[in-house]
């Protein structure tokens, strides 16, 4: 029982990271109706930036904030410079651009930082927090950071005029322009936010999986499974899906199929959801009157 509980809690910790990345995927999906395959590599690249800053002697949290800011700018720039020109291109062309972005970021990171695995510091203490022996301090900390990020995003989209305008721009560009919303900038802002959320996920997962240019490959797959499970157009679903996938992956990996086949869980989930319920658990089947 103890071992089981241990796996569930550890699953929640990684689940929070999947949830963040899944949310980033959903944010881009809502605006463009496409899955950004480069989301994981963007997170990886910004985590390297954090690593550089920390190695240059900057304390953890300032480096953390600076990295989030850098990720935001990077996201905005990628949208403005790379995605904007293919806005009206056929779906497959955009997908190719996403994959190109993935490869470029991956090899640029390898070129600058080499493919040697690096350790990445955790901002949380080594000894267990609050005497909780089931989870490491980093796991508890990662969950807290994830929850803070998610609540901030929720509040932003739900309660601020800018958040509302971004939601509006994502679903009806024409009407948004008619009320004076600069739709292009809203999309760029969406990319910026998604990249910033991804950066947080990267920095939280790096102490667990270590830092290397391919670190996000598997994680993006879990995030994708999480987004699909929750419903690719539902931010709330992505978050719940993320935690669910984290727990499922860990428990199944520990007790049923073994660690080597863990990634299969994500693939089976993806196929299962697409076969049984393509809209996911929380994905809305939108009601429209004609």
């Amino acid at each position: 029982m103890d071992a089981f509980l241990f796996q569930v809690l550890a699953g929640l910790a990684t689940g929070g990271i999947y949830a963040s990345l899944a949310l980033a995927l959903v944010m881009i999906y809502q605006a463009t109706h496409l899955v950004n395959f480069a989301q994981g590599e963007m997170a990886m690249f910004t985590t390297y930036i954090a690593w550089s800053l920390i190695n240059a002697g900057m304390p953890y949290w300032p480096a953390f904030l600076l990295t989030v800011g850098f990720a935001f700018v990077l996201g905005v720039l990628i949208e403005r410079i790379i995605i904007r020109p293919v806005e009206d291109a056929p779906v497959l062309a955009v997908v190719v651009v996403f994959i190109a972005l993935l490869v470029i970021l991956n090899s640029t990171a390898g070129w600058i930082y080499t493919y040697t695995i690096k350790s990445f510091p955790s901002p949380f203490p080594k000894e267990p927090l609050f005497g909780i022996r089931y989870m490491s301090a980093h796991e508890i900390g990662a969950i807290c950071v994830t929850l803070v990020v998610l609540s901030l995003l929720y509040a932003f989209f739900r309660f601020t005029p800018l958040g509302l305008a971004m939601r509006a721009a994502a679903q009806n560009a024409q009407s948004s322009r008619l009320v004076g919303i600069r739709v292009g900038w809203m999309l760029a802002l969406g990319w910026g936010l998604a990249a910033a959320v991804g950066a947080v996920a990267g920095m939280m997962v790096a102490p667990i999986v270590y830092l290397d240019p391919n670190m996000m490959g598997g994680i993006l797959l879990y995030a994708f499974a999480a987004a699909l499970l929750g419903g690719i157009d539902s931010p709330m679903g992505a978050v719940i899906g993320g935690f669910a996938v984290g727990v499922l992956e860990n428990v199944l990996g520990a007790f049923v199929i073994g660690n080597e086949l863990k990634l299969t869980v994500a693939l089976v989930l993806i196929i299962g959801v697409l076969l049984v319920r393509p809209s996911g658990i929380f994905g809305k089947v939108h009601v429209t009157r004609v």
Binding site: P161, L164, A165, R167, A168, Q171, N172, Q174, S175, S176, R177, L178, V179, G180, I181, R182, V183, K284, H286, V287, T288, R289
Partner: protein, 236 residues
């Protein structure tokens, strides 16, 4: 000086020309109607004013050229558009739809007051303020579209068939509200309407369009008594 001045306006969708050099003008505080059969270019004229189609020719609003400007910048000048098809944000709530109308405004208190004013005009919207707008009936969405445009606090309002999908009683009510807005707040209205009789009753001036050209222009009273207009559009 005219509030809106359109000269030799051409507009096209891809390679297809839809407007062939139309001219019209309207004064601040006036109501102008565009009449004509389907395919005459009325909706395209409204879209052209908002920069939603490719145009050539002169478009001036308050003396300032707005040709080649972006739609969102034109909206920020104070031109609100009730578009063809209503343009509802289907997945947002009724109230969020209304608040989006006021997106460019910074006078928060006045926005809250305007929100209540809209609920006063259309109590149905208040009942459904938390409801997803996509679940509203066609008529309710039409009210929402008009209210959303008014939330911009516009100087000029473009209305594309505001009576579409509304019950006759509601149409009359809507037209009363439009007149009131025009009289009390001096909002100018440019109206495209299938219901020519009601449009001519509301408007001071009217333009009759046929296949992308203005074929007749004048005061509403003159057009009402024009034999050709009466036979073709008023039906008596």
């Amino acid at each position: 000086m005219a509030l809106l001045e359109v000269k030799r306006l051409h507009a096209s969708y891809g390679h297809t020309r839809v407007l062939h050099g139309i001219d019209f003008a309207m004064d601040e505080g006036s109501i102008t109607a565009l009449l004509g059969a389907n395919g005459a270019g009325k909706t395209t004229t409204l879209r052209a004013v908002c920069g939603m189609v490719r145009t050539e020719g002169e478009l001036r609003f308050g003396g300032e050229s707005i040709a080649k400007r972006r739609t969102e910048d034109i909206a920020r000048l104070g031109i609100a558009h009730v578009p063809d098809g209503r343009g509802t944000f289907l997945n947002l709530s009724t109230e969020e739809n209304l608040r989006l109308g006021a997106y460019t405004r910074r006078d928060r208190k006045a926005v809250e007051a305007d929100l209540e004013r809209m609920y006063g005009y259309f109590p149905r919207l208040k009942e459904r303020r938390r409801q997803q707008a996509g679940t509203l009936s066609g008529g309710e969405q039409q009210m929402l579209a008009v209210s959303r445009a008014l939330m911009l606090a516009p100087r000029l309002m473009l209305l594309d068939e505001p009576s579409f999908g509304l019950a006759p009683l509601l149409v009359r009510e809507l037209f009363l509200i439009l007149r009131r807005i025009n009289e009390l707040e001096r909002v100018s209205l440019l109206l495209v309407e299938q219901n020519a009789a009601m449009a001519l009753d509301l408007a001071d001036h009217a333009y009759l369009m046929e296949t992308g050209r203005v074929v007749l222009a004048g005061k509403s009273s003159e057009l009402k008594s024009n034999d050709a207009v009466r036979r073709s559009y008023l039906g008596y």
